[in-house]
Symmetry: C2
Subunit: 120 residues, 2 copies
């Protein structure tokens, strides 16, 4: 994560902004609370983050007609593009960091890492 920060800065994103965009790229959030839980972030801090992302035109908040307390949060086309660009940069850095390993070792390493993360 420390190594990834400079890459994200190039794309104008903080670590938490990238986490939010990544979650929203998979699927829009039914509420801000749901998004906060999905990325393991504090709901009160998410507000300011979404304010910035909305002002930058990367996300939009819409009141849920079914429950007017909730805000549905989704990526704009610009938000999708920004996330895709940042993710490409992150993946390139990951490949560089794993450069000490052979292709087969990289697959084994990523697989074991995923198993450990699932466990925890």
């Amino acid at each position: 994560m420390k190594a990834e920060e400079p890459v994200l800065r190039e794309h104008g994103l903080s670590m938490w902004a990238y986490a939010a965009l990544s979650s929203l790229a998979e699927r829009p959030a039914t509420s801000q609370l749901a998004l906060a839980k999905a990325i393991g972030y504090d709901k009160t801090r998410l507000i300011g983050l979404l304010d910035e992302l909305a002002e930058a035109g990367l996300v939009v908040r819409e009141r849920d007609p079914a429950d007017r307390r909730s805000h549905i949060v989704r990526l704009t086309p610009d938000g999708e593009a920004r996330h895709a660009a940042a993710r490409a940069g992150i993946r390139a850095l990951e490949d560089e960091l794993l450069g000490a390993l052979s292709a087969a070792e990289q697959r084994a390493f990523r697989a074991m890492l995923a198993r450990i993360a699932d466990e925890a």
Copy 2:
């Protein structure tokens, strides 16, 4: 590191305190600046950290007779004991976190992780 924090708290240590103690357990520091560089910490923040560790009786600072600007920093017997206890807790947690892997996989995983860290 996030998972290790509660373990360190049980031993009354912050992450940076544990990093400093670990470095000093290998060898005393010839200066505070050397210790800061060894653990990748800011020299100005190290001062307050060492103040706390010294007050807790875990480390001692002595003027270097050869260069009276420098402080030699070393662990006290209490500091060695505290570090050993914390390290044991950390190792137990590591084993738990790697529990999803077989013994052979754990060895391979740790070896690859070390190679990646050396590269970076």
